[in-house]
Symmetry: C2
Subunit: 305 residues, 2 copies
């Protein structure tokens, strides 16, 4: 059912060589392509709309769920996935969408992911987006991610989009209860005429909750990036947003974060910087024998790592 092209897309979005270990659900061109569950992880097809429920039993340790989506034809695909991460579980979720669009029509995947991370649970969530294809049809990915983190929960998110996606609007909302912890790492590269909008809103609701967002991006050619990173402190909490962008060519980058303290014991910090590659860095690498292009590529790779 999965051909060579599918396997290549799977590798790009989920670092998979063949089928993954643990639980998985592979969605191809809007249809369920393959699924595996484990004793601790159920995957159930939703009855009322397209998508799945992923249920991780309380206390499940060191298991993973891969839910890649691949599109190899022009199609509009909308999916709703709901994740229940049971109390004190510790799991890795790898979602990602790879588009190979050979046509002149657009290929679009909109995924709405809702997570309930229960008391004391720990989740690492990796979302990787990738596009390719010889067609002129646009590749569009609009992920919406909603995460509720209960008391003592820990959520780590890696959101990566490296090349090939023409338009993306990424909406991420996280609510943190008492002593819950969030770490978000965003990596974004756009080129050509691409546009990317990233909206992240974090609500620090519970005392001792903490959140850190680190966003790094590179904008090349005529691409546009727009970051709206918002943090609301309603409690005795700590939040930190850091947003660094490298602009090249005729690219435009806008960074408009917001920190809002609604409690005297909220401590919120934001830092943002936009600029080009430092010429000293280029010169140093070129003095070591790299060409300018190689030096630039090395710096960008390090920056987005």
């Amino acid at each position: 059912m999965l051909d060579t092209l599918d396997l290549k897309l799977l590798e790009e979005v989920a670092d998979l060589h063949g089928l993954p270990q643990g639980a998985y659900n592979i969605r191809k061109n809007g249809q369920a392509a393959d699924r595996k569950t484990t004793a601790n992880i159920d995957i159930i097809t939703k009855k009322d709309k397209p998508g799945i429920d992923i249920v991780v039993k309380p206390g499940t340790k060191e298991e993973s769920v891969h839910i890649p989506v691949i599109l190899s034809q022009s199609i509009g695909d909308l999916v709703y996935n709901t994740f229940e991460i049971g109390a004190y579980a510790d799991v890795l979720i790898v979602a990602g969408c790879g588009i190979h669009n050979p046509s002149s029509e657009k290929a679009q995947h909109d995924g709405i992911h809702e997570f309930f991370v229960r008391k004391g649970a720990r989740m690492k969530y990796i979302e990787k987006h990738y596009g390719e294809g010889e067609g002129t049809g646009q590749r569009i990915l609009n992920p919406k991610t909603i995460i509720e983190v209960e008391e003592d929960g820990i959520v780590e998110i890696e959101m990566i989009q490296i090349k090939g996606v023409d338009h993306t609007v990424r909406d991420t909302e996280v609510r943190l209860q008492k002593n819950a912890r969030l770490i978000v790492s965003e990596r974004l590269l756009t080129n050509l005429e691409q546009t990317a909008i990233s909206n992240i809103t974090v609500e620090l609701l519970g005392d001792e909750s903490t959140a850190q967002i680190i966003s790094r991006s590179v904008a090349q050619d005529n691409s546009h990036q727009d970051f709206h990173l918002n943090m609301y402190g309603y409690s005795k909490c700590r939040g930190h947003i850091q947003c660094d962008s490298i602009i090249m060519d005729q690219a435009h980058v806008t960074s408009s974060p917001m920190i809002s303290a609604l409690n005297t014991d909220a401590q919120l910090i934001h830092e943002a910087a936009i600029g080009k590659i430092a010429s000293e860095q280029l010169i140093k690498l070129m003095s070591m024998g790299l060409t300018e292009d190689e030096a630039e590529a090395a710096i960008l790779k390090g920056f987005l790592k």
Copy 2:
């Protein structure tokens, strides 16, 4: 024409003990109260609307213009002032508004100040806002400041509002041409049920233009502060926004800056922090014999200096 109360307000908003040196125009309760011009500085009453034109001759050095506004009764006052700062002039402009509202009706002053800072000119602009009065009537100040800075111009702005103003919406727009420089220093303290909104937008239009905004605020009691500090880099330019707030009691502070790079050679940085007074600082001062209240007052004074 000026009574003891007026002189006290003048001292608060313009550090004046009696009438100022140099050119001045004192506006009291919506009327011109006193005016002095110099050989180099003209002050002309506008014919089409309330307000004055202040014209500083090119090359004028080390002169000052004081244009305080005082309200000692409940009144709605709207004034348009236009400043022409001639090429290579170097002047100090002190504007400020003091309200003593004895009544239960509101006293409001809206000032629209437009500045043309010509080639190579240098202007320091100080704007101080102050309110007092035993009445229950609200004291409202809405300054709008628009500044065009031509090539090689240097503008330094101090905007200070310490207590006594119930509502303020401060709009500041600055456009910088080639090699022009801007330094903005904002100091704001709100208490009781006060609200303050500060919108600052800086457009870095010319190559080698630079802008720095440093905003410091303290929010006490149930007061609300909202900062929208925006910087657009259209050229080979550098911009830096720094926004620090101390929150106390039940106060709310929101800081939503935006940096937008529309040129690869634009370098823009933003930093913001919101938090309460560091307890180590308090403890240190209290160990030196200060009471908690004294220690707090000393820290706030230093922070807003």
